[in-house]
């Protein structure tokens, strides 16, 4: 019961932060560009009545505060309105189309970064102050400052264009037949037992996931290494050693204590992951929310851009909630 109350309380804290971001997005994208319709149409002269008709249709001629609350009400019902460019096209439907691709990439990227970060951090922490430790620390520092599109394009050049081992871009070969069930290609191909499609989708995912994962793995390396070094020098480890506890068990205990902050950090990292996903998607023409955002920016489709910001804000809020719950479950010191 205590845990449920804690979750409810923590969940209610998301509301103000999502609202703040919604407000910022509203100010930035509805107020700053002035008249969005004119901003889209540029310098083209269009008849006044036609302009008014478009404004009327999109609800842009109402006072700003009315627009603010109307849009908020719609967003709460999952309706992000319609595109400014392709009139009548539902943004919610577009987002639902694109979301699985981004989630697939983000999950794969997170998996790679945790796998790499935890292994390198563990090795560096256990081999403290050796050459391995120093080179892994350099790895941690350098990966953090790598420019994602550059790294992606280099990997693409090496493994796709020169070696021809992996596909260059996209999410699946256009010739590969796949029945869509959930929109997650890897999952869909497993459900429909389509081995060919599974391999194809997986091979398309490798380079983007590696790009995103390697760039984001550095902080984990550093964090786990430093925590592990502290843990291995602590009194309880000394006590274990005095009692003759085996080395691998000591390592396991120290590792468990050192990994807790990494979990919290993984949650904070989620925002970076989304930002990185936008760049990775653009680099590899991955048809997710990131490429959607970039396309819409080119056409100055403000309602669509605003929708992406709100969806991301919500995603960040939910992930931080999940991290807090996991934290409460694995760390006995957290009371709820």
């Amino acid at each position: 019961m205590g845990l449920l109350r804690y979750i409810a309380l923590r969940a209610s804290l998301i509301i103000p932060s999502v609202l703040i971001l919604y407000t910022i997005a509203f100010i930035v994208l509805r107020v700053l560009p002035g008249n969005p319709v004119l901003a889209v149409l540029g310098t083209k002269n269009i008849p006044e009545e036609q302009l008014q008709a478009i404004m009327e249709e999109l609800g842009l001629n109402k006072p700003l505060y009315v627009q603010y609350f109307e849009y908020l009400w719609n967003v709460l019902q999952g309706d992000f309105g319609t595109s400014l460019i392709i009139r009548g096209r539902s943004i919610s439907a577009d987002l639902a189309d694109r979301l699985p691709a981004t989630v697939e990439l983000a999950v794969a990227g997170m998996f790679v970064s945790l796998l790499l970060g935890i292994t390198t951090g563990l090795v560096a922490g256990l081999k403290k102050d050796t050459k391995i430790d120093i080179s892994l620390r350099v790895y941690g520092a350098i990966t953090y400052t790598i420019f994602i599109p550059w790294f992606g394009l280099i990997l693409q050049l090496l493994f796709a264009l020169w070696l021809g081992l992996l596909p260059v871009s996209g999410r699946i070969d256009p010739g590969t037949a796949l029945e869509e069930v959930t929109g997650f290609y890897l999952l869909d191909s497993l459900i429909t037992r389509n081995k060919e499609a599974f391999i194809d989708a997986l091979s398309h995912l490798v380079l983007p996931a590696l790009t995103l994962g390697i760039v984001l793995s550095g902080p984990y390396t550093r964090l786990l290494r430093n925590n592990l070094v502290v843990a291995l020098e602590s009194n309880y480890v000394m006590a274990y050693r005095a009692r003759g506890v085996r080395n691998y068990r000591i390592t396991w205990h120290a590792f468990r204590n050192a990994i807790i902050p990494v979990v919290t950090y993984a949650g904070l990292q989620f925002a970076l992951l989304l930002g990185g996903a936008v760049l990775t998607e653009t680099t590899f023409d991955w048809p997710g929310i990131g490429t959607y955002l970039v396309e819409k920016i080119q056409y100055r489709d403000y309602p669509a851009i605003q929708a992406v910001v709100v969806v991301f804000a919500f995603a960040v809020g939910v992930v931080s909630l999940i991290v807090d719950i996991i934290y409460a479950l694995i760390d006995p010191r957290v009371r709820y």
Partner: protein, 291 residues
């Protein structure tokens, strides 16, 4: 006149760098010097661009996609422009945008953090909540939305990046002020009746300086990557302005025929960000130690 001013300026730089470098262990100093060397080389490149660059960065000086030669050390791009000259001039764009962005965001974020942390109360709570919300959001996506609303110009990109990093300064300064507020020396200053603005400027700020310098260089490193990302997405400059991020984007389709067009601009972005990050890393060794 100039001599007096420059001596004054040098004196001030000396004093600041003494405060900032004091207590930084040798390993940290080494990182700071390596980072500084990298950044200074790129700054020099930007200042001396007309002397270093053999060709115009915007006018064609050869056939399209020429391989490297004595005339064009890195070859030419798809419009026949000298890649080396574009890289040299491109440093001006990044450095300008990043410098403006970091100056704006620190000169808004630091005073806000000082005031918010020092006075506390409702204003502090509301400000902290807004800053935390913005801080938690993907900074790149926010910068993209802002830059998209403002239009693709370097000054707009600088503003977009500046807004995104205000919370970083705010949170750091506020946190430190909350810690320092309870210390005896500040209490003494308050008891002596020193005005609050003076306490903040003369008593709090010098204490914050080392941490501010760490955040300054780390956020500058981040800002380099954000600027490059905005410009990669076509949101920072308009062609034909030379800019590393945009040049990388323009080269995207020519990876096979001219790999250098991709390798070099991205490498420069990463190296500049690394240089700034190394300065921050080195300086932070002191900060970590004193805690």
């Amino acid at each position: 006149m100039i001599a007096v001013y420059s001596r004054k300026l040098l004196g001030r730089v000396g004093r600041v760098s003494r405060i900032v470098l004091e207590g930084v262990p040798p390993t940290g100093r080494k990182l700071v010097y390596v980072g500084l060397a990298i950044v200074l080389v790129i700054v020099f490149m930007a200042i001396a661009a007309p002397i270093i660059a053999p060709h115009s960065p915007t006018a064609p000086s050869g056939r399209p996609l020429e391989p490297p030669s004595r005339e064009h050390p890195f070859g030419t791009d798809r419009l026949g422009r000298d890649v080396f000259s574009r890289i040299v001039y491109g440093s001006r764009t990044v450095l300008w945008v990043v410098a403006v962005a970091v100056i704006i965001s620190s000169s808004i974020g630091i005073p806000m953090g000082l005031i918010s942390g020092y006075y506390g109360g409702v204003v502090d709570r509301v400000l902290s909540m807004i800053m935390d919300a913005v801080y938690a959001f993907p900074s790149l996506v926010l910068a993209i939305a802002l830059a998209a609303a403002l239009g693709p110009r370097p000054e707009n990109a600088a503003v977009a990046i500046a807004v995104v990093y205000i919370p970083t300064y705010f949170r750091m300064v506020r946190g430190q002020v909350l810690q320092l507020r309870e210390t005896p020396f500040l209490e003494a200053a308050r008891v002596l009746g020193i005005p609050s603005t003076r306490i903040m400027r003369r008593h709090l700020l010098p204490h914050l300086l080392p941490t501010i310098m760490v955040v300054f260089s780390l956020s500058a490193a981040d800002a380099v990557l954000t600027e490059a990302a905005l410009s990669f997405l076509g949101l920072a400059v308009r062609p034909p302005t030379p800019d590393w991020g945009f040049d990388l984007y323009s080269a995207k389709g020519f990876a096979r025929s001219a790999p250098l067009l991709i390798a070099i601009p991205g490498f420069m972005i990463t190296v500049l960000a690394l240089g700034l990050a190394l300065i921050g890393e080195g300086l932070s060794e002191r900060v970590r130690r004193t805690r």
